[in-house]
């Protein structure tokens, strides 16, 4: 319980830091924050209104307090191009990104676990080296390039999958492109963990008791080898979001990543900062959930009442 509380407090501190960082980038570094908010073509009158609204004449801590106050009320600012509230733009795009990211996560977790288990149970000595090399090779592929290769071979040449668009069938290629890096990573972790778990006492005991191999591997070994994956999922989530930006651009997927890229091209700073801030909040949130879930499933933490 205390450990959970500690993690929650440190997440709050990180949240505070995240807002300070986005505040500094959006309002302290630019020479004229009003122009950043209003866009390069704003007239002096609009600029004066925005300056008053942001309280740019007040000290920085006061400006920051107002910034956080507005964030707490769901006010992430407005896109200066469309005048649409940033929160609405994010809400529109979030489902597509969540869809893509969840499918990719499922693919990489299932693929990684399957490959990791398979290689860990092999007895040939070269298998470790082969696994390491293959996973390093997979980790070295840029997701956007892999996406284009899949698009060319499976989409254009073989016509198995559509070249673009949004839907259940359309998610396959982008999700696979996004998933490979994670799958390679998980495969290596499962491989290493399963190897060390299999060498431990309790597995030998389970075997000596005469339990079937299925039970030994499935119930005792695998469960212990998979636990760290949950933490890994949280640690890797920020990387997944980076991959989302590139994959969505390749496949023209109508999600958050493309929103951010469009915002950068339009120099729409409020929209960029809103998206960046939102994704950081998402990362922190996912990590809190992962911590809680880990506390629930790991008997070493679950059964200790502190």
């Amino acid at each position: 319980m205390r450990a959970v509380l500690q993690r929650l407090t440190s997440s709050l501190v990180v949240l505070f830091g995240v807002t300070v960082l986005t505040f500094v980038v959006a309002f302290v570094i630019p020479s004229d924050p009003a122009r950043t908010v209003a866009g390069p073509k704003a007239d002096p009158q609009t600029l004066a209104v925005i300056r008053r609204d942001l309280g740019l004449d007040r000290p920085l801590p006061a400006q920051y307090a107002q910034y956080v106050w507005r964030l707490l009320h769901g006010d992430f600012g407005r896109s200066y191009l469309t005048r649409q509230p940033v929160v609405h733009a994010i809400a529109e795009r979030l489902p597509a990104t969540a869809f893509l990211a969840l499918v990719a996560l499922a693919v990489s977790a299932c693929g990684g676990v399957a490959v990791g288990c398979f290689t860990a149970l092999q007895r040939r000595p070269a298998i470790d080296l082969v696994t390491l090399t293959a996973s390093l090779a997979a980790l070295s592929l840029p997701a956007f390039w892999l996406g284009m290769l899949l698009l060319y071979v499976l989409g254009y040449r073989l016509r198995w999958f559509p070249l673009g668009g949004y839907g259940l069938y359309h998610v396959v290629l982008p999700a696979c492109a996004l998933a490979l890096g994670g799958a390679a990573y998980y495969a290596r972790v499962v491989h290493t963990n399963l190897r060390s778990v299999l060498a431990e006492e309790f597995v030998r005991t389970a075997r000596a008791k005469g339990l079937s191999p299925m039970r030994v591997y499935g119930k005792h070994a695998l469960r212990n080898a998979l636990l760290p994956l949950v933490t890994l999922l949280g640690l890797d989530f920020a990387g997944l979001m980076s991959g989302v930006v590139l994959t969505e651009t390749v496949f023209n997927w109508p999600g958050l990543g493309r929103l951010a890229v469009e915002a950068v091209f339009n120099q729409d700073i409020p929209l960029i900062m809103g998206t960046v801030l939102f994704s950081a909040l998402l990362v922190v949130g996912v990590n809190v959930v992962v911590d809680l879930v880990y506390g629930l499933i790991d008997p070493r933490i679950r059964d200790v009442r502190g």
Partner: protein, 279 residues
Amino acid sequence: MGMEAAAARRQEVLGWVGGAMVLALAVVAVVAPWAAPFDPLAAVADSIGEPFAPDATYWLGTDELGRDLLSRLLYGARVSLLVAAVATTLSVGIGVTVGLCAGYFGGWTDVVLMRITDVVLAFPALLLAMALAALFEPGLSALFVVIAVVSWTAVARAVRSEVLSLRTRDFVIAAQALGASPLRAVVRHVLPNVVPTVLVMAALSTSGTVLLDAGLSYLGLGVPVPTPSWGRMISDSQTYYRIAPWLMVFPGVAIVYAVAGFNLLGYGLAARFQRRTGR
């Protein structure tokens, strides 16, 4: 033990392979002006809008503007390696400083520095880099800073945990007892012992910076055109990928080669240091 040592030795072989790959890439980057068959920026073939496939004259084909792909790839190696080298040096510099201070001084310094690290880690690296790139004038120096700012965290964490275990070792305590200033204790006694970790992390984070640079150039936020960069070549090829797939295949192969080289080098170095110190 015997099996583990054998496995470590096999991993070291991978390191040698990675080292050779990186070395070859560096040589290519240096000799690009002499090795490139054509001017990378000039329209040397009459292939505007209709890229030529690879042939005897243009080994890797030409792009939609009639430029020779091989020459552009070779020059692209220069840009990629330059960005990787400078950005990694900056980010390793930041990471080592933060990690040394946090680990050696401990207490509040450690808490504050590690929370800052957590904050930077909370941002998806590419998104934060995009936001920063949007605020700066596009150019090489902006690119160096942007990449360094988002990628120092792993080095900082690794160095910190290394220093934490070194801090209580006899030779450091002896130096402190003999009246060495904190700066002297850190630079003379702690720093030399974290060099192996720093080298491993530097190799691994170079692969990260190459990927990040490729991603940013793919999004059009890398080195400004017309300087050839691998990521940009891939995004430019996207319009033509059906009729000219070689335009996207070769730059991608170049990126994978570079990233894999640095990754292998990093793992090889890690295995070697592990065997040497017997940990």
